[in-house]
Symmetry: C3
Amino acid sequence: MELYFHWFDLLGIAVFAVSGTLAAWRKQMDGFGVIVLATVTAIGGGTLRDLILDSPVIWLTDNSYFLAIFSAAVLTILLVRNRLVIPNNTLQIADAIGLAFFVIMGTQKALDHGTSGFVAIMLGTMSGVCGGMIRDVLCREIPMVFRGELYAITCIFGGLVYVQLLGFGLAQMPAMLAGMVALLALRLAAIRWHLTIPVFGKKANDLR
Amino acid sequence: MELYFHWFDLLGIAVFAVSGTLAAWRKQMDGFGVIVLATVTAIGGGTLRDLILDSPVIWLTDNSYFLAIFSAAVLTILLVRNRLVIPNNTLQIADAIGLAFFVIMGTQKALDHGTSGFVAIMLGTMSGVCGGMIRDVLCREIPMVFRGELYAITCIFGGLVYVQLLGFGLAQMPAMLAGMVALLALRLAAIRWHLTIPVFGKKANDLR
Amino acid sequence: MELYFHWFDLLGIAVFAVSGTLAAWRKQMDGFGVIVLATVTAIGGGTLRDLILDSPVIWLTDNSYFLAIFSAAVLTILLVRNRLVIPNNTLQIADAIGLAFFVIMGTQKALDHGTSGFVAIMLGTMSGVCGGMIRDVLCREIPMVFRGELYAITCIFGGLVYVQLLGFGLAQMPAMLAGMVALLALRLAAIRWHLTIPVFGKKANDLR
């Protein structure tokens, strides 16, 4: 099980790195910009969570994360250079799998540090979405996650399912799996049927 | 006294959360964006201070902060939706009270960790202004606090009064109160008479 | 030797502070904005590195950093106000010296905390470039370091030389000096002959 976890973790890392690479491509950054954006997108959320929990930052002692990031970035550059288009749907589904894993693992890590279930869900969501937020800030964009897609809400939902099931006395492993499946199902439904949450604000004006 | 402190703290948190909510409204963010902006505005400065001091982040173990933030955000949304306008003056005065409290408490916390008075004033000011800076960056704005209003200077002034009075041998409690009153008085004067500090730079050009 | 180190450190800090001050000037910020930008540019990278390594943040207990920052900022303001232009070349060379020092010292600090050579080079580079990245984000710019100049690459190169020489059994002090010289030489060559690395992305469009 543990072994599967590490592979899912690397999958999530790699998918997030692809999204960072594509963002750097859209902004015409240089090779260093590509690597930085791929890296912060992939590990930014988890790093922030670890800093706040005062827990050792995981990639300080495990190079396999960077191997996953660099492989994903180089592969993406090669594909884009050769005009091979990555199907958007494939990316979104892989991203959803990585997200499910990140959020529930992040929630679990916070609980391990003795936080309340509420704070744990918040830190789990932070693990999933903050990397992308830093990516967008470095690209001078308002974070995508604020723009009405059903993304962050699915993280909160998955974390809630997990914490509730633990509260009902379920063992850790089935509760984690259930949380991941719940998150994944809602996220895939959102992708499939373009579910959105209402955008708040001055409706008449267009976005600036 | 301690009890009053906690209530002032929650007042400051709530007022900062209102300012984050209004910023999200202006940028037409979704419900998640509102919550994130309200939260980072309210706790961003204190979190950064705690990370730098290597002190446990306070909201990890106290949910009352989030209760204050969410209540403030929901109330603000309801008011704005119903076109009830929050008087700008009321907001600014509440913000000044919250600021006075945040800055002096942050300065005290740094002193408790053994920093010099100078660094303590810097960390106190950081507690007061960094939440708003992160809010503005996430909204793709140049931080308001850099724009000539007498805001950060009042934080430095209040911290200076507090640290000086401690240096003159005053007890902690009266020194804190004096620092808060000094900060509040200067901030209210700045609001009342539109005091500014000179903006530095290429005067002839307009802002980009 | 240690004494020289401290002076080089302060030189690097001061040069980075000048670059932050000039950025604030271009954006017409107020006096507080100048100080903040000078400070985050100078100590942002090192602070982030220390947080990630869970090492005490160095400026918490050493005021000489701020003395260097404030002196550099005030001097820069005076020069600019009096229309005395700082020769761009002088600045770039001073920046290269500061950068060489920051990156190799940062790499060494990471190795001292037991990271792999790879992660150490990454953290060393982070020490050198993240201050400037935060500066650019606060100025609402896409970080300059992503824009094709041979800057970050020189950091990676210098760190690599240092770590490799250590691996070959060289003593710490000559290895550090060799790493600094290698970084400095490549950076000066990049300045002299306008070396660039290819920018990745949609070539036909212009930058947004």
